[in-house]
């Protein structure tokens, strides 16, 4: 069984559609959404509906900080642009859509895998797993063999190496066999707001039979997503960064 993995969709309809299509072409039949469906982007209703429809058909989804921020102003960031976008997003979503975001759990354990938006040690504190030490701490907080998370927007693979944890920058499109003799933590990268200088949307698949993980980069019509952000009157910086991938 091949599982499609999407993280940090950020209300970017074009990127989400492109990733879902690319993963379906790669043979994915199950779906996991690793949080932050909304925030930054101009299509929150479509994105929430899309994920909710997948979940109704058996997909799994965990809550991200942007999803949580809609219901809880105190948890919100100090960044005024992000705060304003959260308010705008809340007004756009109807009751059932907001209820869906609130219903998503912080963590899901599925066979030998753990799905969480940020760290496994305090999933509601939104720590960034952005270096080997953080990855080591997150791996120490779970017994599962493979942790899949988001929050950090750059694709990354961490793996236990003796008593420490090492970092690997994956090459898109190359399936990586994950040895069962050590534990792994993988970040597919952001679907809706890539920040590593490459504007193509990021996602990944994991094959439960072959025990292989493959990171993908999917070019999409980012100009259209950026135009939607500008047309909605959201901060122009959010549109600009989609075109630069920063």
């Amino acid at each position: 069984m091949r599982i499609g993995l999407l993280a940090d969709l950020h209300a970017n309809r074009q990127a989400t559609e492109a990733c879902l299509a690319a993963l379906a072409r790669a043979g994915c039949q199950r779906w996991v959404f690793l949080g932050d469906l909304v925030g930054y982007g101009a299509d929150p209703e479509w994105t929430v509906d899309c994920v909710r429809a997948h979940v109704e058909r058996g997909a799994l989804a965990v809550r991200g900080n942007h999803d949580a921020a809609l219901g809880d102003e105190a948890a919100n960031t100090v960044n005024a642009d992000i705060r304003a976008t959260a308010r705008w997003t809340r007004e756009r979503l109807d009751g059932p859509q907001r209820a869906f975001l609130e219903s998503m759990p912080l963590m899901i354990e599925d066979a030998d895998r753990l799905y969480v938006h940020a760290s496994a040690w305090e999933p509601d504190q939104w720590a960034y797993v952005s270096n080997p030490l953080a990855a080591k701490r997150s791996l120490a907080a779970t017994t599962r063999w493979l942790t899949l998370c988001g929050h950090v927007h750059a694709p990354a693979l961490y793996y236990e190496q003796g008593h420490s944890v090492s970092h690997f920058e994956p090459r898109p499109g190359v399936p990586i066999p994950l040895s069962s003799q050590r534990r792994w933590l993988a970040i597919p990268g952001s679907c809706g707001q890539p920040r590593d200088g490459n504007p193509a949307a990021a996602c990944a698949w994991f094959d439960t039979d072959a025990r292989q993980l493959c990171f993908l980069r999917v070019p999409y019509d980012h100009a259209r997503s950026a135009a939607a952000i500008r047309a909605a009157g959201l901060p122009a910086a959010f549109a600009d960064r989609l075109e630069r991938g920063t």
Partner: protein, 489 residues
């Protein structure tokens, strides 16, 4: 507890037939499977072996990496898994023998050393193309086998337990505080922990060739890390000092492989193979004539530069596995179109200048009536051959290339296209440049050489035209035979 293995036992669907090798690190069994007709080998590492955590990781590396590589220079991966706690891996069982038995009959003749070296270098080139550095090249890990189809000999690389794949997490990096490799053969940068340098394999192959040519190991067989580090500054005795029968060109090649600084070695395995296949074209330097070590002053300077190298090596990250292309320009000395000649020279210049480590082979074909009668043996044939060589050198005179980056070759063949395609294939040429012939009556009847080369050569082919041909020349003629598109690129 280790699994007790017995003939007839089944592991992962494979039936154990007989033990082939019971080593300290792993056990090898021949196995069969109803779905596979080829000969199979199962490798089972010893997991009961006290100290060797690295062995367990090595096997993990091999299980990750082998499914990612293929081709005729590596055993084919079949399956892997775990039986209770015992991991196992099944691969194709290769026929042939490793270089190990040859070590009983050293030294070998220079021609045989070069042939073995070239075959191994071509196998390494294939591996490096797949973004893998072997990192444990030694006689026991190079197997020679005859192709069952035509009897031609080739090298197969074994044991990928220390290898590095550029697209996979490196499970051995920074984990162990001892150098990972085999002491007599390990490259200096590998002693320092660098694991992504393809030219480390050229060093190890150089040690192997040194051993085959002289019967001695250039750096001995040191037991500890300190002993291995000595190769960062110690210079081995020159091969010709140990065996005067070693020709200068072979000493040049071997000592170049053994340079401390990877930048001073051959730029790629294909370039090393090229030199080993064309002894008369090896650019000789002071390495060729070195006898004994360098003087004390030279040695001190060498030590200082080695120190610098060490600093460079420690900083350098992720050397590209590709690069250093072999370029071949096919030159038709008979053709008289000056504009086409200039265009071919311009294109060659442009392409060799884009890669600093590229090398150029200028090739022409001398048509002979038929092959098989040693045409160069007769005096007339010999002089025609020499005339072509002189003309080739003249053709290349104005190219802005240092002498050691360019070689000249006159091929004798009855079919031009076949000769060029064969040459490009056997020399691992990356890009072939040739001129398009005009639309003449002959071409109309026979088809062009360039179109056959484009269709059949296994490398990039660039077909050069002299400026833009007029629309009238390019337009399809009245007869259907002329409707072939003008662009052959």
């Amino acid at each position: 507890m280790p699994v007790k293995l017995q003939p007839g036992m089944t592991i992962g669907g494979f039936t154990l037939v007989e033990p082939l090798h019971e080593g300290g690190m792993s056990r090898l069994w021949s196995v069969t499977h109803p779905d596979h007709t080829m000969a199979l080998l199962m490798k089972l590492p010893r997991i009961d072996y006290g100290e060797a955590v690295s062995q367990v990781v090595s096997f993990e590396v091999e299980r990750m990496l082998m499914p990612m590589i293929d081709g005729e220079h590596v055993p084919r991966y079949v399956a892997s898994g775990e039986y209770e706690d015992q991991p196992w891996l099944v691969m194709q069982r290769m026929h042939g023998e490793t270089l190990q038995p040859l070590l009983e009959r050293l030294p070998l003749a220079a021609e045989r050393v070069a042939a073995i070296g070239a075959m191994t270098a071509l196998a390494l080139e294939d591996l490096h193309h797949q973004r893998v550095v072997h990192l444990d090249v030694k006689p026991g890990n190079v197997l020679l086998q005859a192709d069952p189809r035509d009897g031609s000999e080739r090298a197969v690389l074994l044991d990928f337990g220390l290898s590095h794949h550029a697209d996979l997490p490196d499970l051995l990096a920074e984990q162990f505080h001892v150098p990972m490799g085999t002491a007599p053969y390990i490259a200096p940068e590998q002693v320092l922990g660098v694991r992504d340098e393809p030219r480390s394999d050229l060093f190890a192959l150089g040690v192997t060739l040194y051993q085959l040519a002289t019967g001695k190991l250039p750096f001995g067989a040191p037991a500890g890390t300190a002993g291995m580090r000595r190769r960062l500054h110690d210079e081995p005795p020159a091969p010709r000092q140990l065996n005067p029968a070693v020709p200068r060109w072979l000493q040049e090649i071997i000592l170049r492989c053994l340079e401390v600084d990877p930048d001073r070695r051959h730029a790629s395995a294909a370039q090393l193979a090229f030199d080993l296949q064309h002894p008369d074209q090896v650019p000789l330097t002071s390495r060729a004539d070195r006898l004994g070590g360098r003087g004390p002053l030279a040695r001190a300077l060498h030590w200082l530069s080695a120190l610098g190298t060490r600093a460079t090596i420690e900083r350098k990250k992720a050397v590209a596995t590709r690069g250093a292309p072999l370029i071949m320009t096919a030159i038709d000395l008979k053709q008289t179109n000056r504009a086409l000649d200039d265009a071919l020279r311009d294109m060659t210049t442009r392409i060799v200048q884009t890669a600093a480590d590229s090398r150029l082979a200028c090739v022409t074909v001398l048509r002979v009536a038929r092959i098989g009668i040693e045409p160069t043996l007769d005096i007339e044939g010999r002089s025609r051959h020499v005339k072509r060589l002189i003309a080739l050198r003249d053709w290349a005179r104005s190219l802005p290339l240092e002498e050691h980056r360019i070689t000249f070759h006159v091929l004798e063949a009855s079919e031009v296209a076949d000769a060029l395609i064969d040459y490009a294939r056997s020399n691992r040429i990356d890009q072939l440049i040739m001129g398009a012939r005009g639309v003449t009556g002959v071409r109309r009847m026979l088809g062009s050489v360039s179109s056959r080369v484009v269709a059949e050569a296994n490398c990039t082919v660039t077909v050069v035209r002299a400026g833009r041909e007029s629309a009238a020349e390019q337009a399809p003629g009245p007869e259907p035979t002329e409707s072939k598109p003008a662009s052959e690129q």
